[in-house]
């Protein structure tokens, strides 16, 4: 394959290097740092901290669902606040922030061979605004009336009415303000990631030599920059409805016998805006996971990723298509039913590039030299859960099948499997993979395997059976399932089982956090390139990489990121910055 294996010529440097900002004090080095690597760790630590809140909230929900009537403090109001905050934190403040702000910041400059992001100061601001958004979000737990309980989708009119916790108190206002701040902060970071990938690549790093991790994060960021504005305007409009009494989303309403001072607005307009953001958001989380897992599989199977160009085009194609499928979240919303024909078609079309990615991952394993390291285990677990969750998407995407299943536990099971469990398994794999670069030490292997098995099997046992509760007709967002004629006694037992599994999986995460902290000092020394990987971040002169990443001279790239097990080469990997003295194999087309 001529195009993707090395071309020998490397273009000359076009511009001289810019001087980096050098910190002068402890504060500017570790706190108000402009180094993308420090910012990455700040993003990751904040996201993990708020993610722990979401984890505890999920336990509280499962206590109520698994053992109804046992815990008096979980009132209906509290339950709805828990599900709302759990969902919002996981999707936005954990997954989006960790993949883009965390992995994006750490890996983009290192992987493309840059000294830092293109706009380091704006990058720093991005983190601090994100932190502010998180603090505003957390403050709603302490505000009068508590956080909003409108569900993470925040559908009006109920989101801003008295029947919903926080609707006429502070909760919804703080939620909307926090989202607006998040989007401002994200935009600053996102522009940085995009410009750095487009303009900051080192000599020889053509777009088609980028590791798929960078392709995934890059495409996800472009999508986020296009999708988040829809959420931004929706938040601003709802804030106006709530605070100033406008009626963007509020029709004439009688609430508890009283006419409200609203009229003429459209609740369904909010849903369109929300999902115009919300569906690309699924892929904003998924594409970085796709990219990262491709690199994990390739590295740990010691084999080039199969079908690199197809993988790149699949990422780009999924990114583009994901903007025309949003209303598949709205099949039973009451929108014009003929939309169903269009959106079911686009939604099922997106299954094709997604399936191609799955094939290429498993075909990378074929005839590989599979090292069952912890990152590889997580990558395999990702494929299982992603395939499972992706396939149930074919139920929900196919409009008429969605009718009985929509708003049931089937949906909860589906989206947790596909955008909760699967991407988080990739995050774990990625942390086990890159932790040695960030800290210079390996994570503890025994704790890691314990963490892996409990998390993977536990999560599968939580969400696989849950689909069948939905098939039975059990609705989602019910804190009380006792009075339902469709639920058999055994279905209640199944709920208790799911709850117990959830506590076990949650416990394993505490072990993981302990491992993260313990290994900083006590982990085995890793060396610069413990996985014998090809990409540039493993070729830095220091580990952890110093400020400026690459020492005096930037690396020059001579080959793609996947020269593993090249026939005739001395070792089973050739780093990207090694000149092409080995004859690159040219497989017949």
């Amino acid at each position: 394959m001529v195009d993707i294996t090395p071309a020998d010529a490397v273009p000359p440097a076009e511009v001289a290097e810019m001087e980096l900002y050098h910190p002068h004090s402890w504060w500017t080095k570790y706190v108000f740092s402009q180094d993308a690597k420090v910012i990455a760790i700040q993003y990751s630590a904040t996201a993990t901290a708020i993610g722990m809140v979401a984890l505890v909230l999920s336990w509280l929900m499962r206590l109520q669902l698994g053992f109804p009537g046992t815990f008096d403090f979980i009132t209906p109001e509290a339950y709805y606040q828990f599900i709302t905050m759990h969902g919002m934190i996981m999707v936005i403040y954990l997954l989006t922030a960790l993949f883009l702000g965390g992995f994006g910041n750490y890996l983009i400059p290192l992987m493309v061979g840059a000294r830092d992001m293109v706009f380091p100061y704006v990058n720093m601001l991005s983190y601090w605004i994100y932190l502010l958004a998180v603090l505003v979000l957390v403050s709603s737990f302490f505000a009068p009336g508590g956080p909003t309980g409108a569900g993470w989708t925040l559908y009006p009119p109920q989101a801003i009415m008295t029947g919903t916790p926080g609707g006429q108190d502070w909760g919804i206002i703080l939620m909307l303000v926090s989202l607006i701040l998040f989007i401002i902060g994200f935009t600053m970071g996102g522009l940085n990631y995009v410009v750095t990938v487009l303009q900051g690549r080192t000599r020889g790093m053509t777009l088609m030599r980028l590791p798929l991790t960078v392709w995934g994060i890059f495409t996800a960021t472009v999508m986020a920059l296009l999708a988040f504005p829809a959420l931004f305007v929706a938040c601003v409009m709802m804030l106006l409805d709530r605070a100033l009494g406008t009626s963007f989303f509020m029709p004439a309403i009688v609430e508890m016998g009283e006419q409200l001072q609203h009229g003429g607005g459209s609740p369904i307009l909010f849903q369109h805006l929300f999902w115009f953001f919300g569906h690309p958001e699924v892929y904003i989380v998924a594409l970085p996971a796709f990219g990262i897992v491709s690199d994990l599989i390739s590295t740990h199977a010691r084999k080039n990723i199969f079908g690199y160009r197809m993988m790149v085009w699949a990422i780009v194609g999924i990114g583009a298509l994901s903007f025309v499928v949003w209303a598949h979240h709205m099949y039973v919303s009451g929108m014009h039913p003929y939309f169903g024909f269009f959106f079911a078609t686009t939604t099922l079309i997106i299954a094709v590039p997604t399936a191609i990615k799955v094939y290429n991952w498993v075909l990378t394993l074929w005839r590989g030299d599979i090292h069952l390291t912890i990152p590889m285990l997580f990558a395999l677990a990702f494929i299982v859960t992603f395939v499972n969750g992706g396939l149930t998407g074919l139920f929900l995407g196919n409009v008429v099948v969605d009718v009985p299943l929509s708003d049931t536990m089937f949906v909860v099971a589906h989206f947790h499997m596909v955008m909760g469990v699967a991407p988080i398994l990739v995050i774990f794999g990625a942390i086990y993979h890159w932790y040695p670069k960030v800290t210079g030490r390996m994570l503890n292997e025994t704790l890691g395997r314990f963490h892996f098995w409990i998390t993977f099997l536990g999560a599968y046992l939580i969400f696989f059976p849950m689909h069948y509760l939905g098939l039975m007709g059990v609705p989602r967002r019910y804190n009380e399932l006792t009075d339902m004629t469709i639920m058999t006694e055994s279905a209640h037992h199944l709920n208790s089982f799911i709850s117990i599994m959830a506590f076990m999986v949650g416990f394993a995460q505490i072990v993981f956090l302990f491992n993260l902290i313990w290994s900083i000092r006590h982990g085995r020394e890793a060396g610069g390139n413990p996985w014998r990987a090809t990409t540039l971040e493993w070729q830095t002169p220091q580990t952890p990489p110093a400020h400026g990443n690459f020492g005096k001279d930037l690396p020059i790239v001579y080959r793609w990121a996947y020269d593993y097990s090249v026939p005739g080469a001395k070792e089973d990997f050739i780093p990207q910055n090694v000149p092409g003295s080995f004859a690159p194999s040219r497989e017949p087309a």
């Binding site: 030299d369 074919l394 099948v401 049931t408 599968y460 098939l471």
Partner: protein, 271 residues
């Protein structure tokens, strides 16, 4: 080795769970067995794909696990294989989509002999309205809702006078007759969902949405609200009783019309 075994067990376990576990859909009580059939087709296609991918992975992990002296193959691309897989996937997806869209067109096109029944949701109860002898529902407006007129029927619309109003009570439907459910809300989003009927649709204040079905079994069915509508959401149950024609007519005869319900008010305003 252990990993490959676990992968195989996941496939075997999932398939056994699917066929042997007691958790399955409720017996259907409407004409939408088309939807159930589409779900079955989808289970088969996706189940086969899931098993194939995971078993293939298990085989790879077993066969190509690292052993001393192994070397991976170097194979960047294989266009023929990639195109072949793309085509097979596209065929599979089409096999899901086509029956799905066919059933959807049935779902959205209401038969002309369907009777209209209105469902009105509010926090947190269900009310219903049936057309009177004229067979037509009168128009309505949320702004006309008050204690005497809980559904906001427009009093000046002659079609509405004989409408049967069932406030916060059970709905009865005759078995075997197609019915078009017209869905309204006067406060927030709700969703009229009876699991046995397989159909559901959101109710939006300010709009009228719909779905249709034909009840095929007599009996009592629980209505659930399927769209989060505030903290009373899980308590928003209702009842639909599907009756024989005679029972239905007997029930209908006991209901009050809009004109009857608003009569005292009209006398008052005449003074």
């Amino acid at each position: 080795m252990a990993v490959a075994l676990v992968l195989v067990l996941i496939v075997v376990g999932s398939v056994l769970f699917h066929f042997l576990s007691p958790w399955w859909w409720t017996p259907i009580a409407s004409n939408w067995d088309y939807i159930d059939n589409t779900i079955i087709i989808t289970f088969w296609i996706t189940g086969v794909v899931f098993a194939a991918v995971v078993l293939f992975m298990a085989y790879c992990v077993f066969r190509f696990r690292h052993r001393e002296g192994n070397q991976a193959a170097y194979e960047p691309e294989n266009r023929r294989l990639e195109s072949w897989l793309t085509v097979v996937t596209a065929v599979g997806v089409t096999a899901l989509l086509v029956p799905g869209l066919f059933v959807w067109s049935r779902f959205v096109n209401v038969p002309s002999d369907a009777t209209e029944v209105e469902v009105v949701g509010q926090q947190w109860q269900w009310s219903f309205r049936l057309p009177g002898k004229d067979g037509k529902l009168g128009t309505s407006d949320t702004r006309d809702v008050n204690a005497e007129n809980p559904l906001g029927v427009i009093a000046t619309d002659a079609n509405g006078q004989d409408d049967v109003v069932v406030e916060a009570a059970d709905l009865h439907l005759p078995v075997g007759k197609p019915v078009k459910m017209l869905l309204r809300s006067i406060d927030v989003l709700h969703d009229f969902y009876v699991p046995e009927f397989r159909a559901k649709m959101d109710m939006i204040p300010g709009s009228v949405t719909y779905f249709w079905f034909t009840p095929t079994k007599t009996g009592t069915f629980q209505v659930l609200c399927a769209e989060l509508c505030g903290q009373g959401h899980p308590m928003m149950h209702g009842v639909v009783m599907v009756d024989t024609q005679e029972d239905y007519l007997a029930w209908l005869g006991q209901q009050q019309t809009f004109a009857q319900l608003s009569a005292p008010q009209q006398m008052g305003s005449a003074e």
